[in-house]
Assembly symmetry: C2
Homo-oligomer: 353 residues x 2
């Protein structure tokens, strides 16, 4: 499985732009600042407040620069109709509160997930470095976006970060008669002395929804173990899978992890259970998603964590172990130096949405 698939794993909803490859022949090149400006302008033209537009623009361009295209510019095809339909409040200001010194709570007020994280970011870093631990607990938002963007930023600030999120039900675990959980992604990042944080960001489902939608649009089969049809029987037919449900990765063990993510991201935060979250792409209600980010400051636990991790990752890599986060870092550095190229037809479609 390519690391791209891993990191796109939590893109759970389907749009035409996501599912169907564009017939791109022309590209437009942007510096990262230009790209942020382009997205920000587009979002403001759809009614977003400057804060919402800025937060979403930075997250979108960061994902695109990391090579994580499904939650980059293409993901705007989910946000822009969301703003106009009422599924996302384009001017929502998250309501932030604290419970003690280390727990930050955000009610996203039906807006994007990213702004609550941005609003708390500096305070969370300060609290974690001062106390050894901190947590952000958010409810009532649209999709979490790229979870790895959050954990990576905290790792770049010297913290270990574990993030989980939920959304509308798409996955049927073994034994269940219907869909009970979203793809319930989990992301983990840790700082390393060599400057390349460890980072992964993956759905708890066997495959991202977008992969199945893509297979359906091209008439391809899907591997066994990805999905069941509407009768709950395993299927390799992508169209039948779209009418059915995704499966967790890793059988019963994966189903247990999915339940853990659900309890933390929806139960603890007070967000909607996946079963009760409304669709990302239809209707005028916020899905009311939840997000939990746990932070640990290594210096409180043991000495030289970042050096130890860097040495160990070098050692593991020499043994053939994949180092998650490495390609993302490389892609980001390239994008910072050379900018990013975006398909002109994608930009045109987004502008027309």
């Amino acid at each position: 499985m390519p690391s791209d698939a891993l990191c796109e794993g939590h893109r759970t909803h389907r749009t035409n732009i996501q599912a169907i490859p564009l017939k791109t022949t022309a590209y437009r090149r942007f510096t990262l600042d230009e790209a942020v400006g382009w997205v920000k302008h587009l979002c403001e033209s759809k009614g977003c407040s400057p804060a919402v537009a800025d937060s979403l623009a930075h997250a979108t361009v960061a994902a695109q620069a990391r090579g994580n295209q499904a939650v980059g510019f293409r993901h705007l095809a989910d946000y822009l109709p969301g703003f106009s339909s009422g599924r996302i409040n384009p001017r929502a200001e998250p309501r932030i509160s604290r419970a003690g010194a280390m727990i930050f709570k955000s009610d996203a007020q039906g807006g994007i997930a990213q702004l609550g994280v941005d609003r708390c970011f500096d305070s969370l870093c300060h609290a974690a470095h001062a106390n050894g631990m901190a947590t952000l607990s958010q409810c009532n938002s649209f999709t979490s976006g790229e979870l790895g963007d959050y954990t990576l930023r905290f790792a770049q600030a010297g913290l270990i970060a574990l993030a989980v999120a939920n959304g509308p039900a798409l996955v049927a675990v073994p034994g269940a008669r219907s869909k009970t959980y979203s793809t319930n992604p989990l992301s983990f990042a840790a700082p390393s002395a060599d400057g390349v944080p460890l980072l992964f960001d993956q759905a708890s489902s066997a495959a991202a929804f977008v992969n199945i939608a893509h297979a359906a649009s091209t008439g391809s089969d899907i591997p066994e173990g990805w999905a069941v049809d509407q009768h709950g029987n395993g299927t390799r037919n992508a169209v039948a899978a779209l009418a059915g449900a995704l499966l967790p990765f890793g059988g019963h063990r994966g189903a247990n992890l999915m339940l853990m993510v659900e309890v933390l991201a929806a139960g603890l935060t007070g967000a909607k259970w996946s079963l009760d979250a409304s669709d990302f792409n239809q209707g005028n209600q916020t899905p009311g998603c939840g997000l939990l980010i746990l932070l640990l400051a290594p210096a409180f636990f043991s000495e030289g964590f970042e050096q130890r991790l860097a040495s160990q990752m070098t050692r593991l890599t020499r043994m053939g172990v994949h180092r998650p986060g490495w390609e993302r870092q490389h892609s980001t550095v390239t994008a910072q130096n050379e900018g990013i190229s975006l398909p002109v037809d994608l930009l045109e479609q987004l502008s027309r949405l």
Copy 2:
């Protein structure tokens, strides 16, 4: 997969008693108190301090009462030779320190893992209920034992608990040329208003080592995806698997989780990396394992968590979803009322060790 297999998943090392079924015809019945007394007496006769004997006896009987036999009385076949060989310091008193209000650190001093948890248990509960979060970080112990015993006890005290542990390398992740991680178990528990905490406790490997050892001893094949042979090729031959390595559950996603457990349980705690941990069953060195337990107090996050979880678990169970922890609770209640029966030949073998 039966839930027993899930919960035995982190038993990673092999003994004859574990691998080969006893030809039991006679059983001896104990009340739980009698069983604790029997184990405590046995451990003290092998040189354990009263504190070590008491801690291990309670953990052993609790696992047995839960029906988790691999980490119940049978697991004593790993501990008793460990005490006499020097792999476990039978009189070690953990060195406990604090880093701030919520972080407790334990150096197990080469002793059992359980005593460090017991020594910190009340303080951890107090810290978590006072601040919303707390953590125990332990290094330098023998095997973690039954991780679910720790998380369940914290859940019974009203806390959400996430625990991870490591040990000697047994697992080769995809791409790796040799074993790099232990089975790196993860356990999660959460309190529920109906009095039955959610609980799972599972290896991050596709199967527990003991299952493969058992198949080898009976000449059975193992399922695809459990293990590779010594050349790194997938194998269904259990004997070849014993000479090779276990595989993670869930492919690349499972390998990422395994790395996360390694970073938290070994990297953050300052314990030995799995690659550097010595054998549980040979030599005279402590494996120097790590254990990290994260605690969250739900009341700091949202109102009515335990009630919400109880309702949601009822709803999910009606939809056919397995509720992890339910059978364990039922088994424990039965054991409390009726006692436990143990094979006489197992008791005799343990007494002779």
